[in-house]
Subunit: 106 residues, 2 copies
Amino acid sequence: MTEKTTKKRTTEEKRTDEDVIYVGHKPPMSYVLAVVTQFNGNGSKEVILKARGRAISTAVDTAEIVRNKFMKNAKVKDITIGTESVTNEEGRDSNVSSIEISLTTN
Amino acid sequence: MTEKTTKKRTTEEKRTDEDVIYVGHKPPMSYVLAVVTQFNGNGSKEVILKARGRAISTAVDTAEIVRNKFMKNAKVKDITIGTESVTNEEGRDSNVSSIEISLTTN
């Protein structure tokens, strides 16, 4: 779903698509690992967790586990909720709630 | 789970427990109705949705339905996430994520 972007990091273009982690139906620890890798391995200053529907609670779990267990210096900078329109298999549109949790380190 | 409080409203004590709606495993519309009643029937200026675990996504659904369908003037004032410790039936403690979404009208 995410577009592939260049790995080059410039000061002008600080946030890349790599800093966005899409949370789905795997266990929270999969996403925790992705977040920690993004901060510690790739040197991101801000990581955004995005989730829709049922995965919203997994995104919150992920943020809380990162913050409480793995990176005590991580903070929740911002949380936004929204509604997205999705087309199901039968071709009908339905609305699904979404969340974006942005985590930062000091 | 919520304690019963007096119905009297004073200027000093504006937010009562009535303004907190605990979201559980009913369909979102049950909680949407509770929120709309709280704003329109009881005259609250701020309503807080609280949920834990899987119900977190239902709380987000509720806020989004209120905002998009029933009360276009309602805004998400603040969202906070946290972790609560709960004791299960076997007496063991486990952690569960929680969310608080505060909705206000202008």
